[in-house]
């Protein structure tokens, strides 16, 4: 399987560990990740809030790059997924919008033809590689690790774009359980982490994050696993801020799904990756030793 690899902005800037884990998993499972030359920011909701056509044009530029590579796009971030998938769907269906956007893209020598598809990492593993192949690659399963899966809003909503809403969240649950962990139910699993308000209204963002963390803690999870770097950042860094401002501790390590999978495939996390987690991973790493 070959994909046009869309990294987005947040991962190179703040979470290189996620990229590292994905690359390692890809090479183990025979997935080729081709660099998208000159790709720009996907234009997440913050940019969508500024201007509609700018969003579509920027997102469409990335879609065109992938089209010219003849590959589907693989994203690692829910917000990139949202932006690119919505743009792809809208431009494929609505001729008027497509013409408008192509008028702008003509200036940079590109034309949207609707030939590519957008996939997020967990869905790509589930649909294109298959659960069986993933299961067969597991060498060191997490026996009984209680994981609170945070699918994140944009993995499954808006439903009319993602149509098989439950399928994407269920696929993520299945993949997490393939590593030997247990995906537990907890209150408000489908709700937001608060990430989008970070930098805009930190107080409210933290409040929303706390609601989520309270629910996870009440359900007795060992850790949180997420696909989205925004969720990761908000729930990981957020716990430090909650400790500082609201004097409450949750002590829930937050992992990227790729990190969980990679560890289960027998590839240990390197020191710099472990240190990147603000809530220490010691609990999880100890568990692996004691197996």
């Amino acid at each position: 399987m070959k994909y046009a690899f869309f990294l987005g902005c947040l991962i190179p800037a703040r979470e290189p560990g996620y990229e590292n884990s994905v690359r390692k998993i890809a090479s183990e499972l025979g997935i080729e990740l081709e660099e998208m030359e000159g790709a720009n920011c996907c234009a997440p909701f913050s940019i969508q809030s500024v201007d509609y056509i700018s969003w579509l044009a920027l997102a469409a530029r990335n879609l065109c790059i992938a089209e010219n590579m003849g590959l589907d796009i693989l994203t690692l971030c829910n917000d990139c997924y949202e932006s690119l998938l919505m743009t792809n769907t809208m431009l494929k269906e609505d001729k008027e919008i497509r013409n408008k956007v192509n008028e702008i893209l003509a200036d940079v020598g590109l034309e949207f033809k609707g030939k590519t598809n957008v996939k997020i990492f967990s869905d790509a593993l589930y649909e294109d590689i298959g659960l069986e192949k993933v299961k067969n690659a597991i060498k060191e399963p997490f026996n009984g690790l209680r994981v609170a899966v945070q699918p994140g809003c944009h993995l499954t909503k808006p439903k009319r774009i993602h149509f098989a809403e439950l399928a994407a969240a269920a696929a993520l649950d299945d993949l997490v359980e393939a590593t030997g962990a247990k995906s537990i139910t907890y209150e408000r699993k489908e709700s937001c982490c608060g990430g989008p308000l970070r930098g805009v209204n930190d107080e409210v963002a933290l409040h929303i994050a706390k609601q989520k963390l309270d629910g996870v803690k009440a359900a007795g999870a060992d850790c949180i696993v997420t696909v989205c770097p925004f969720c990761y950042f908000e729930l990981d860094m957020g716990q430090l801020e909650i400790k500082r401002h609201l004097n409450e501790e949750h002590n829930l390590p937050v992992l990227h799904f790729a990190e969980l999978l990679r560890m289960a495939m027998g590839m240990k996390l390197e020191d710099w990756e472990v240190r990147a987690h603000r809530i220490p991973l010691t609990k999880i790493l100890d568990m692996k030793e004691v197996k």
Partner: protein
């Protein structure tokens, strides 16, 4: 030309149509899928807005219908094939085996008392249990037991204790060919399953129930003997919330019931008043989008519900409910229409009013009849304005909720039953003259 009529569906609409036709001299074959006629009306406690006892009105009509010499009742039966055209239909009916001899069974119930196997009771919306050999409900017509083979342990105890020797475990399904001139469909409705919308907590929280389950709870012949108790702990709920429009008026593609079910506002107010009469101290709130109180006497009933019975009407559609794990109380999240802020309120019991949908199996029936359904599964009219009760097949008519939610309350269904009977009589009379 044949002078017989097959009526498919033994609810109030089908019963009315059958009685009318029988009185006019037609031979009527009333085919009912379940072991007893009665339909939804048999499940209700009281009707609105008169607050009459539902069974008290229904039972005499059921008896009158089946006692009529022109009516032949075929219960536990389904229409499997229809050939021919108006005036000359050949209808093949499959009668499922009850494993009880209808001619011998007196309905005494001794077999059920001794039966060791239990199963959820469909008549009670699966909130109560029945035995594997059972009477569908106390006033069932025909008054004959039936054995549910899937849950029968084949122990033979019923056979041993039956004083009439009515158990016949060798009974086979029976195919019956009927020559009739016309067919009337009156299959009624099912209740939408709210677990498709998980935010309302149905099947996740014990104290969230549907309105039909509430009806069975309030009915004296139901699993609680008419005592209003809540599922989690059997206590009497002191605070109750009704949430309207669960799945109805919903244009989302994966729900696809954009219509208004037309009777939920009515029955919610009825049930609220009923509960208040039982338990005057209870606090009841109805959360609605619009209070659709059209028709005779209904707005007055709503006004009385507010002023005399103190029922709270809150114009706000809650987005979700959650559960208090210690008390199993249900917390409803809604926007208070006065203060315009999001509030949450705890209730002992939450009743959902789900949308009403065509009966399961209606697509197969429509195919057998060759009649068209609309995109929601209701029978299409040959002409929505001039021939609303004619299906798209000449000689086949439909009445009651299976035609669509524009009807649905009991007087409407009765009127439509009579109307289709009249249509049949007219059409067949014209054929005779021709």
């Amino acid at each position: 030309m044949q002078k017989g009529v097959v009526v498919i569906g033994g609810g109030i609409a089908g019963i009315q149509a059958s009685s009318d036709l029988a009185n006019r001299g037609f031979k009527v074959y009333l085919v009912e899928k379940s072991p007893s006629i009665g339909g939804r009306m048999a499940q209700l406690d009281k009707t609105f807005p008169t607050m009459d006892c539902s069974m008290c009105i229904l039972a005499p009509k059921m008896i009158e219908c089946v006692r009529h010499p022109n009516v032949q009742l075929l219960t536990y039966s389904e229409v499997k094939d229809v050939k021919g055209s108006v005036g000359n239909f050949k209808v093949r009916v499959l009668k499922k085996p009850r494993y009880i001899d209808e001619r011998k069974c007196t309905g005494c119930g001794i077999c059920a008392e001794n039966c060791p196997s239990e199963a959820p009771n469909e008549f009670d919306e699966n909130i109560g249990m029945r035995k594997a050999v059972y009477m569908p409900f106390p006033q069932a017509v025909p008054r004959v037991m039936v054995i549910d083979k899937d849950n029968c342990l084949e122990c033979g105890l019923c056979d041993n204790v039956c004083p009439a020797n009515a158990v016949n475990r060798e009974q086979q399904p029976e195919e019956i060919e009927l020559d009739v001139g016309a067919v009337i469909v009156a299959t009624g409705f099912d209740v939408f399953d709210p677990s498709v919308i998980p935010q309302y907590g149905y099947k996740r929280f014990q104290n969230v129930i549907t309105a039909m389950e509430l009806e069975r709870t309030l009915c004296a012949s139901g699993p609680t003997g008419g005592h209003l108790i809540r599922p989690s702990d059997g206590k009497i709920p002191r605070s109750i919330a009704f949430i309207q429009c669960i799945g109805s008026r919903d244009r989302r593609k994966w729900i696809n019931h954009p219509y208004c079910s037309s009777i939920c506002c009515k029955y919610a107010v009825k049930d609220a008043v009923l509960i208040k009469e039982h338990e005057p101290d209870s606090r009841i709130t109805i959360f609605y989008i619009d209070m659709r109180a059209f028709g005779r006497g209904f707005q007055e009933f709503v006004n009385r519900a507010k002023s005399e019975f103190g029922i709270t009407f809150t114009r706000s559609n809650p987005g979700e409910v959650s559960e208090d794990p210690n008390t199993n109380n249900v917390v409803v999240w809604f926007e208070d229409p006065i203060t315009r802020t999001v509030q949450h309120a705890s209730f002992d019991l939450v009743v959902l009013c789900p949308t009403l949908i065509p009966r399961k199996g209606v697509e197969e029936l429509a195919k057998t009849l060759g009649a068209e359904l609309d995109s929601y599964g209701f029978f299409k009219s040959a002409d929505a304005v001039k021939k609303p009760l004619d299906t798209t097949v000449s000689g086949i008519f439909a009445c009651g909720y299976c035609v669509g939610p524009k009807t649905g309350d009991i007087p409407d269904s009765v009127a439509q039953g009579s109307a289709t009977a009249s249509r049949v009589a007219e059409v067949l009379a014209r054929l005779e003259v021709a």
